[in-house]
Symmetry: C2
Subunit: 421 residues, 2 copies
């Protein structure tokens, strides 16, 4: 038998990066797990934390090996370091790079100028560095890049998977699907998509752009093997997603807070399906020069529907749950058409886990087992305001408002590029 | 009479930024001219230079005032300095910001990883800083942003001005025109377009995105007033554009070098029309929250057609000119459909200057008056190679090939963002 194929997982310390690393290791891949651990620092700085305790990468990797898993190679690296990424790709010769290594919170990106600029520069530079390293050292490597369904926004037509055939004035072309992203974070993913597509066209790289929906759940067969293998569970205003937040609210007996009318409809999927989508993408790579887009979600729900599912699951247990509508801190349509295709991963064999009340029950049970750590006050306060920035968050945290004029050291200099000559 | 409206020109030291500053000053605007002068440093570092000598910004501004022009306020500022941009907008309260302040060479962006990353980070960060400054300090200000026709690429359908109405499965929406940009530079402009559009939707800013064609010529009524007011004339492989290069080749009696078949068709315009397009945009601002796109060019030509126009102009003077086809260093279609709309500026009153042999003659005369400064060797060498990076340029310049593994200091740090808390 030949050596196992190498997969580099970027962002391996994250909510999905860690379970993905375990899943691929369990499937026989040699996994190189890479992260700069910045997500943990943002937690320390912002006063947020995973409700489920997580271990250090070193301890996680050790636990996995002790439990009989194939060794996962853990490397601390910031992928904004282009030379470091080049050395990583040169030395590991991956068959695939799974790229979760980006700032992934929309509210975080909307706090203020610095967070917007940092998000886009971080995400764009990291991906550009990966693409250049692939060209130089692994041109046959398959980039499996995590995008987001949020790149599309909510157009009034069906959302296709990445491309759309347009007939116009008697002529026809198949072109990238137009994008209407809803935050500086979502915009950064649109930028990435354009950059990746370009390098496939011009350099012949191969890439799969996974436009992922909102993921829920935190338990996978591999993370369940030991509490030391657990992944994050976020529910705060900056890092949490809506179903997680509803489960925490239900667990502590608070009303489920819906922003605005709650008609905002999105694609969702179970964390276990995320892992399978990534495995299926790796095992069915695109041709050289091919840039393909899969819409990676399994079901569409409106926010209000999700709240009602949680309420119904609680009712089955004999508990009453209130639903409360708050002013929407985001700028978005609250009633809109939404019909997004998601056929290509099903065609590759995805067996989806639909959202059932049993899953909601088990998420709530997880929350209840960490009940003492829930920051109840934060649950009732709306998110970062899309129009004004961090106002709500900073008020929540009891911080003074920012003075935009404050002098700041410049962090990147014109000198950063060595001259042509 | 009220005070004149203030216009901030970003990139005011550049090929178009300087003539625009003069043109708006001559039309009665209070002009604040801003630049970081990096273009001059890239010349020094890369061994390139403007064929027409240019003066320092201080001397240009002094000359303009001495010649009787309204004073232009010159400020040196790098717009990647977000606090600096905020202070600029707060203090000057512009009615419009004309934004030329970006790295604008496609070959430069294709040299290597550092140039690609630098181009995108520079351009994206600068524009994000401008948008945030507008939100904070001048929400009614009109952003007039220089994009490029190269954002669209060469789709097989007619190119509309920024948006296209798509009917799909019986439903209809008007969405951003899909983009197929052809270099990391062009991609950076696509990123900007998405970012600007977003801030108009979410913050109610107003912006005009000028998707400009390739500009030719270097003489305007204002720059002609004194040699000390001249603007740049670039013809080298990194900064020059095709018609400038052909004029230099014709002036020194060399063959006009066409990349590949020469069927590459693009939109072009006279530098004097650029200035008028900008003035017309400023004087007809969009509504609050409106993001509009004008395709800013006047005529379409293929590269081979341009070469033939130069040859014909020379023939009228009794001179023979050869046309030579070189291997194309870029990855692009050399025969393709191209029909781009450019009606909206005409509707605003643009009186175009079509490309005539007299203009070509005068450009060649300009070159001839600086004949001794032409770097003849560089004219015959193709551009930066799109597939392999700087190979041709570095060979041309007699430089060793780059070692991608070389260790480099990181220039931007995760610490660049202040925490939420």
């Amino acid at each position: 038998m030949s050596d196992p194929a190498t997969v580099v997982v970027l962002g391996a310390d994250g909510y999905l990066g860690w379970p993905t690393s375990l899943h691929l290791s369990a499937r026989g891949y040699r996994v190189v797990a890479v992260d700069n651990l910045v997500r943990r620092r943002w937690d320390r700085e912002g006063g947020t934390s995973s409700l489920v305790p997580i271990r250090s990468m070193a301890e996680r990797v050790r636990t996995w090996a002790k439990a009989g898993g194939d060794p996962i190679e853990w490397r601390r690296l910031d992928i904004r370091d282009g030379e470091g990424v080049a050395a990583l790709v040169r030395d590991t010769q991956p068959a695939a790079i799974v790229h979760f290594g980006e700032q992934r919170s929309a509210p975080f990106s909307m706090i203020d100028r610095e967070h917007a600029v940092m998000t886009q520069l971080n995400n764009v530079a990291g991906t550009l560095n990966v693409l250049h390293a692939m060209r130089a050292f692994a041109p046959d490597c398959h980039l499996v890049k995590l995008g987001t369904m949020g790149e599309y926004g909510t157009p009034n037509i069906d959302i296709e998977e990445g491309f759309i055939t347009i007939e116009h004035h008697g002529r026809t072309d198949t072109l990238p699907f137009p994008k209407l992203p809803g935050s500086f974070y979502h915009l950064s993913k649109v930028h990435d998509s354009h950059n990746i597509h370009f390098t496939c066209r011009v350099w012949g790289l191969r890439a799969t752009d996974l436009n992922q929906g909102v993921v829920y759940g935190c338990s996978t067969p591999e993370t369940s093997a030991s509490p030391r293998l657990a992944t994050r569970f976020d529910y705060d205003v900056v890092w949490g997603t809506v179903l997680n937040r509803f489960c925490v609210q239900a667990a502590v007996g608070q009303p489920l807070t819906v922003y605005g009318e709650g008609g905002q409809t999105r694609g969702f999927l179970d964390i276990r399906d995320t892992l399978e989508c990534i495995r299926l993408s790796i095992e069915n790579p695109p041709a050289a020069g091919e840039y393909r887009v899969f819409n990676q979600f399994t079901e569409q729900f409106s926010v209000l529907q999700l709240a009602e599912l949680v309420r119904a699951a609680r009712a089955e247990q004999g508990m009453d749950t209130l639903i409360e509508h708050l002013p929407n801190p985001r700028v978005e349509s609250e009633q809109h058409y939404y019909n997004a295709k998601h056929q290509r991963l099903i065609d590759l064999g995805l067996q989806m886990h639909p959202l059932r009340s049993t899953l909601i029950d088990s998420m709530i049970a997880t929350v209840e087992s960490h009940r003492d750590k829930v920051d109840v006050a934060s649950l009732q306060t709306p998110n970062v305001d899309w129009r004004t920035g961090a106002l709500h968050t900073r008020t929540l945290l009891g911080l003074p408002q920012r003075r935009p004029q404050r002098k700041q050291t410049r962090r990147y200099e014109p000198e950063a590029v060595r001259p042509v000559a």
